[in-house]
Subunit: 242 residues, 2 copies
DNA sequence: GAGTGGTCTAGACCACGAG
DNA sequence: TCGTGGTCTAGACCACTCA
């Protein structure tokens, strides 16, 4: 499909990738140190690091500073289902994905005021949700809700739980999807290379009165997540578009 | 928002970015050569190239081998509107974005058979659509249609036109969105750095009989395109999900 | 403190683009 | 041909992890 890549490090990456797929390097294994690998392949360290960077970008290798390069446990691809979600279903339909939610109060500023259509400095509640698959971080969501719509009894701080069912009846969900590289702090909290593309979903949910009840910023690493949007076209809907 | 980045090349990138936004470097300008810039900032060439790589990833700079680094003309962000489209509207709602369509015949293989739900080697028509904004390539779409659904009079070869209205009544449009880095040939045809994330949309459209009438693979560079999906939640729809 | 990755250097050599 | 970017080297120095 793609023509043969001519660079040294592509060849090295191919070799390592092959060793992983064949099983000579198993999930969880530590690779030899970069200096060892470099001398083994007769290249300099920067060249070897390029090869590793490629594998990182593919999600096959996880680099841990001071400790080594490790073969990643294969990550199941999870699918984010668009179109909002009903009361009990979490945004990511995944069973063994447990989520750590950190709730905190803040005031609207900058981008958020426009998203939520509120005035600056109006009180909000932020839910910072980091979901894990096993021990490795999987995805990051930041959900903002006007304070008066958040459950009053919810304490600030860390809660290990599913996001509570705080969904009022929704009328309209608009999701803006874009692809970009992670910000430095996303890269570190998700423990991904900064060269891995992430799928960035901004979801704005509006209730029947037209009020924005939620804005969510989701960061889904591209090597482990897709999003699916399904649209049913009825004849009435087609007419309405015209 | 993001804490100050400590590396040398981040600082250099910040400086250059600033010069661009301030207007000291204007769109179309050629930057000084990498060696000149390197000596100006008192860093080595690889370090400087990191800085440029970052700007490339942001779509601010275009590198042309053998000729130099250029400040990109600012690209308007275009939005892909999800949910399929009605007869006359192109997938990208953009006026001055003109599209070159290359039609060709081929037979289903691999991935495509599953997407279109057809048997292997069944005849298909491929529309390879490359849209340009001015002189620079903007996005790439590959659309596959079962041969018998394509207009019979359509010749193979290059057509500079909008995609013809060949939409049968659609019942269901499913769009799978993912983020990844471009394949080498995507990077070259779109003239983007291979470090720029692209938004990859796989759209499968089904007609009222359940037959797949179209599969489209869209590659939208992350620095210039978003996708928007809107879902109207009626009470019936919510009931249906349960 | 030993070993790991992270960053950076100074310079070599090759490949491409334009005159 | 000349100037440009593309790749690579050999090695220095710093920062982090873990025993």
């Amino acid at each position: 499909m793609t023509q043969p890549a001519p660079t040294r490090w592509h060849a090295i990456a191919d070799d390592l990738r092959n060793q992983i797929s064949v099983g000579r390097l198993k999930a969880g294994d530590r690779l030899p140190s970069e200096t060892q690998l470099a001398s083994h392949y007769r290249v300099s360290t920067p060249t070897l690091r390029n090869a590793l960077a490629l594998l990182q970008g593919e999600g096959l290798v996880e680099k841990i500073h001071g400790s080594g390069n490790f073969v990643r446990h294969p990550l199941r691809r999870t699918t984010y289902v668009g179109g909002g979600y009903t009361s009990s279903a979490p945004p990511l339909v995944e069973e063994d994905l447990h989520t750590t939610v950190h709730a905190s109060n803040l005031r609207a500023h900058g981008h958020l005021t426009a998203l939520l259509n509120v005035s600056p400095r109006s009180p909000l509640m932020e839910f910072r949700c980091l979901s894990h698959q096993g021990k490795t971080p999987h995805s990051l969501a930041r959900i903002y809700v006007p304070r008066d719509l958040a459950p009053a009894d919810l304490p600030e701080g860390l809660l290990v739980a599913r996001l509570p069912d705080l969904r009022p009846p929704l009328a309209l969900v608009q999701e803006t999807v874009s692809a970009r590289l992670p910000t430095p702090d996303e890269a570190t909290t998700l423990r991904i290379s900064s060269a891995l593309a992430i799928l960035c979903i901004t979801r704005v949910a509006t209730d029947t009165t037209g009020r924005v009840v939620e804005a969510a910023l989701l960061a889904l690493p591209g090597d482990r997540a897709d999003a699916v949007f399904t649209t049913h076209h009825t004849t009435e809907a087609r007419k309405a578009e015209a």
